[in-house]
């Protein structure tokens, strides 16, 4: 349970770690846009090189990135099967006992797979190199201009930081409950389907109860200290955009333009 890779901060202290979170979020968004431009394999080639070199620069281990990709594997297989049956354009690649597999089915699946992989690599880069708190500060600042349109920027940021703060607590809590129920003979790994359902219920119900309790206690504690979401607040941590942040934005925009141009011509 504790080795969940997705969205975990890894303190390797690289140059990417030191970038301003706001700029990093912007950069990630631009790279995401680039991923969705229909630039075929050329564009994806460029983006893959960019993503891999960014991972190298950030000193993250490839094993860690691969771990985050694992949950997607099942979806990829599912997509391939659907595409084989649905897409019937292009030329026939193979004939499996009368089931014709068309080239477009394979290409489409490959595109989606590559896009998903790139997206996960890029988002993992962001979450692995940015402390959760910095990330929420960045989100709050980036949403600030939308306050004019009644977007509750501060509230959203507060909700995200509370949610992030409680992930480890909930993991710990669920392990505690699992152990307590195991002591009462619950076996999550074996048993018939209805036994398994009861086993999962015995985990989920207490988890819900304690989460609601925690939420109430936290709300009370915040109120007791005079928290008000509408109050104007100052910040201990001041974010500062420096030259290296602008350089990173410039480089990302270059990539975006390159991929965009390719998409135009291909």
């Amino acid at each position: 349970m504790t080795n969940i890779a997705l969205g975990r901060y890894i303190p390797t202290n690289s140059i990417i770690h030191k970038l301003d979170p706001r700029m990093k979020i912007m950069n990630m968004l631009f790279l995401m846009v680039a991923v969705f431009l229909p630039a075929r394999f050329y564009g994806y080639g460029i983006l893959s090189v960019v993503a891999v070199s960014l991972i190298l620069v950030s000193k993250l281990k490839f094993g860690f990135i691969l771990k985050s990709l694992k949950p997607v594997l099942l979806m990829l297989i599912f997509l391939l099967v659907i595409n084989i049956f649905v897409l019937r354009t292009g030329y026939v690649v193979v004939d499996i006992f009368g089931l014709l597999v068309y080239s477009d089915a394979l290409f489409q699946t490959a595109y989606i797979v590559i896009r998903l992989l790139l997206m996960i690599m890029i988002t993992t880069l962001l979450t692995a190199t940015t402390k959760p708190l910095d990330l929420t500060l960045g989100i709050e600042d980036l949403l600030a201009p939308f306050k004019r349109f009644k977007v509750p920027a501060h509230e959203i940021a507060m909700m995200i930081s509370i949610a992030l703060r409680f992930i480890p607590t909930l993991i710990e809590e669920s392990q505690r409950i699992m152990k307590a129920q195991a002591s009462r003979g619950v076996d999550l790994t074996e048993g018939k389907i209805n036994e398994k359902i009861v086993a999962i219920l015995s985990l989920i119900v207490p988890l819900f109860v304690s989460s609601f309790q925690r939420a109430e206690e936290l709300a009370d504690a915040m109120e007791a200290r005079g928290y008000s979401p509408t109050a104007v607040r100052t910040r201990y941590k001041q974010l500062e955009v420096t030259l290296k942040d602008w350089v990173s934005l410039f480089l990302v925009l270059c990539v975006l333009i390159a991929v965009g141009t390719l998409a135009w011509f291909v």
Binding site: T2, E173, R176, I177, K179, A180, Q181, A182, S183, R184, G185, V186, D187, T189, E190, L201, S202, V205, P206, V209, S210
Partner: protein, 283 residues
């Protein structure tokens, strides 16, 4: 010896940056029928040690034998499942394990998991609830609407319903008021009197003094004391060395000594102590 621990080591998240050695070469034992208190500071490995007793975790080094069943490193959990019935483990703040719609159903949950029939489970559950002091008016109520102390009782009844031979308790009185705490402790004392071996983690030396027969003290994953309660209190100052709060009785004894009043210096029973002061008896 109902539990024999041999050079047991346990490491959390081995081979990673978070690796942490919670227990180091622990060798100790628990007598059958004893009321053994496990004491030690936070992080000394008490909870990790007792989780080995019903095979929730298996050692990363060494071994232990629980009621004749040998547990070694990397053992299959499946073959250890019968131990979960023999060794009932009540965690700290066990009320979070309640999840059924009614109290009776929740207490029946354990026995049903171990293959007891519904009728038998109901009978066992009712008996366990009476033992913890909850009568039939509680059977059909939701466990979530009870007070904290009552929830704790239901949770403990849920473990008692497994009729364990060994009952392991992790700070069973934490967060209870003195009255609730005292009645909880007398429940365990009665169970112990009827033959159940009790192992209790506690920070309250007063409970150790009043209820335990044996003491195991841990510090940073190492056993620093193992023996009878009398030896622990009369012949060592370990509780002081490790920053535990001195029980009132020991406090009283040192005050009596200072005041040069003669009394029975070896008793841990308040009544005998009082009697000896009255008689002005030396020993």
């Amino acid at each position: 010896m109902i539990i024999q621990v041999e050079k047991l080591s346990y490491e959390y998240s081995p081979n990673s940056v978070f690796a942490y050695h919670a227990l180091k070469d622990v060798t100790t034992s628990v007598r059958e029928g004893s009321f053994t208190a496990i004491v030690g500071a936070t992080g000394s490995g008490k909870s990790t040690l007792v989780q080995h007793f019903n095979a929730l975790i298996t050692p990363t080094g060494g071994s232990l034998t629980v009621d004749g069943k040998l547990i070694v490193a990397n053992q299959k959990v499946k073959e250890l499942k019968p131990l979960r019935k023999k060794v009932g483990l009540v965690f700290q703040f066990p009320e979070y394990q309640l999840f059924e719609e009614t109290i009776l159903k929740d207490v029946m949950f354990g026995p049903l998991n171990f293959g007891v029939t519904v009728d038998d489970a109901r009978a066992i559950a009712q008996e366990s609830l009476i033992r913890v002091g909850l009568d039939s008016t509680f059977y059909e109520r939701s466990p979530l609407e009870l007070s904290g102390g009552q929830k704790r009782r239901v949770a403990i009844a849920g473990i008692l319903a497994l009729s364990p031979k060994i009952l392991v308790l992790d700070e069973p009185t934490a967060g209870l008021d003195p009255e609730g705490s005292a009645s909880m402790m007398s429940l365990f004392q009665n169970l112990n009197a009827s033959g159940t071996t009790i192992i209790m983690i506690t920070h309250d030396l007063n409970h150790v003094l009043n209820y335990a027969t044996d003491v195991i003290m841990l510090d940073q994953g190492v056993v620093v004391f193992e023996g009878s309660k009398e030896t622990f209190f009369n012949e060592t100052d370990l509780h002081e060395d490790y920053g535990l709060v001195k029980p009132p009785l020991l406090e009283l004894r040192s005050l009596l000594k200072e005041a040069k009043i003669s009394f029975n210096a070896h008793t841990l029973d308040i009544n005998i102590l009082a009697q000896s002061i009255k008689e002005g008896k030396h020993d």
